[in-house]
């Protein structure tokens, strides 16, 4: 037999009794709303009315937390559902003024479009500032309006298109550093017919003075400064060597040339980490070449 609440008036009050599950009449001490605190034997439907409580427990007795949902051993899900195009929002507030929100926004039109995710921030008056984090539902792309660990959105966009060898690609996108490498000359010039490596008074064997490079780089701007007029029957050729082979970064100071600074700024040679370089000095003439005070190259990393 269906159980019915026994009303004493058309307006239930604290004095109204209801028939509890144990078939005894109990006072409806909550009054007014017609919903017993305990002992409901069927789903309670408040209709369009509101529920106000100090704390709510779902799947568990309400405790000190305002809302406690306990699914126990079952998968537990909290749904925030709305029609297409309607925002779904979790709002974090201070004295009921917005500070942060997790929000799903955007009208869906197929192909996984719309309903994108946002982390939104608000100013002291509760006005929306921007979305520090956004995630496109269709693509999964994460966007930000603010810096990440000091990197601006533009700087982070430099990573766009990176498919492999991140270091190599970053090297091509970030600003480069440059340095000059100097080699001290000698008081006397290179004797006729001699070849030396490293410096004017260096080794006769290139591999003995080859300098290993620790980073990918380019070497350019070869400068050589002579301190006296080149003998008319001499010359001095200075050449950058890469892994034991000559390169296009070279210059020859012809016999008879006045003392001065000679340079090759037109050629640039690329190196990988682990490559080696040195300078070769050749006097193919029949007299001692002019002395040099030093040489330099520019290394761009």
């Amino acid at each position: 037999m269906a159980k019915k609440v026994q009303y004493t008036t058309n307006t239930p009050s604290a004095n109204t009794d209801y028939l509890a599950a144990d078939n005894t009449w109990k006072a409806m001490t909550g009054g007014g709303g017609g919903v017993p605190y305990t002992g409901a034997t069927a789903d309670v439907d408040l209709g369009t009315h509101s529920l106000t409580a100090d704390s709510i427990g779902i799947g568990i007795t309400a405790g000190s937390e305002k809302l406690h949902i306990d699914g126990g051993a079952s998968t537990t899900r909290v749904k925030i559902d709305a029609d297409n195009g309607v925002s779904r929002i979790l709002s974090f507030r201070t004295d009921d003024v917005q500070r942060w929100a997790l929000r799903v926004d955007g009208t869906e039109s197929g192909s996984n479009s719309g309903a994108d995710f946002q982390v939104r921030r608000y100013n002291d008056a509760g006005a929306h500032i921007d979305n520090p984090i956004g995630i496109n539902r269709s693509t999964g792309n994460i966007t930000t309006s603010q810096n990440v660990n000091g990197a601006t959105p533009t700087e982070m966009s430099y990573l766009s298109g990176v498919t492999s060898s991140i270091q190599t690609q970053l090297n091509s996108k970030v600003s480069t550093s440059q340095s000059q490498f100097f080699i001290v000359g000698a008081a006397t010039g290179l004797n006729a017919g001699l070849t030396r490596y490293g410096n004017i008074a260096g080794s006769t064997t290139e591999s003995q003075v080859r300098l290993p490079l620790s980073s990918i780089c380019t070497i350019s701007h070869l400068y050589v400064r002579t301190t006296a007029t080149m003998n008319a029957s001499a010359s001095l050729a200075v050449t950058l060597f890469k892994n034991g082979s000559s390169t296009a970064l070279t210059l020859t100071i012809a016999g008879g040339s006045v003392a001065g600074t000679y340079s090759n700024t037109a050629n640039s040679i690329s190196f990988a980490a682990g490559d080696g370089w040195t300078l070769q000095y050749v006097n193919a003439g029949s007299a001692t070449a002019a002395a040099t005070s030093g040489q330099s190259v520019k290394i761009t990393i």
Binding site: T229, A232, S233, A234, S235, A237, A248, T250, L251, T252, I253, A254, G255, G256, S257, V258, G260, Y262, N264, A266, N267, A284, G285, S286
Partner: protein
């Protein structure tokens, strides 16, 4: 263009033979009087040809030849 000529400071003039990266420079001193005479007589292209052939002998050949 086989070469470029640059006027440097202190009256120094430099020829750069481009493809061979051979350089020759002279100044306004009397030491290069013979060179200037030869340059006037034979032209710069003749000297460039010699520089390409042999940077060790070009100057001597140019002023004595």
């Amino acid at each position: 263009m086989r070469y470029v000529i640059n006027e440097l400071d202190e009256g120094v003039t430099m020829i750069h033979v481009l493809e061979h990266n051979v350089f020759f420079a002279w100044d306004e001193s009397v030491e290069y009087d013979s060179f200037r005479v030869a340059l006037n007589d034979k032209g710069i292209d003749a000297f460039v040809d010699l520089l390409i052939q042999d940077a060790n002998t070009a100057y001597t050949t140019f002023i004595n030849g």
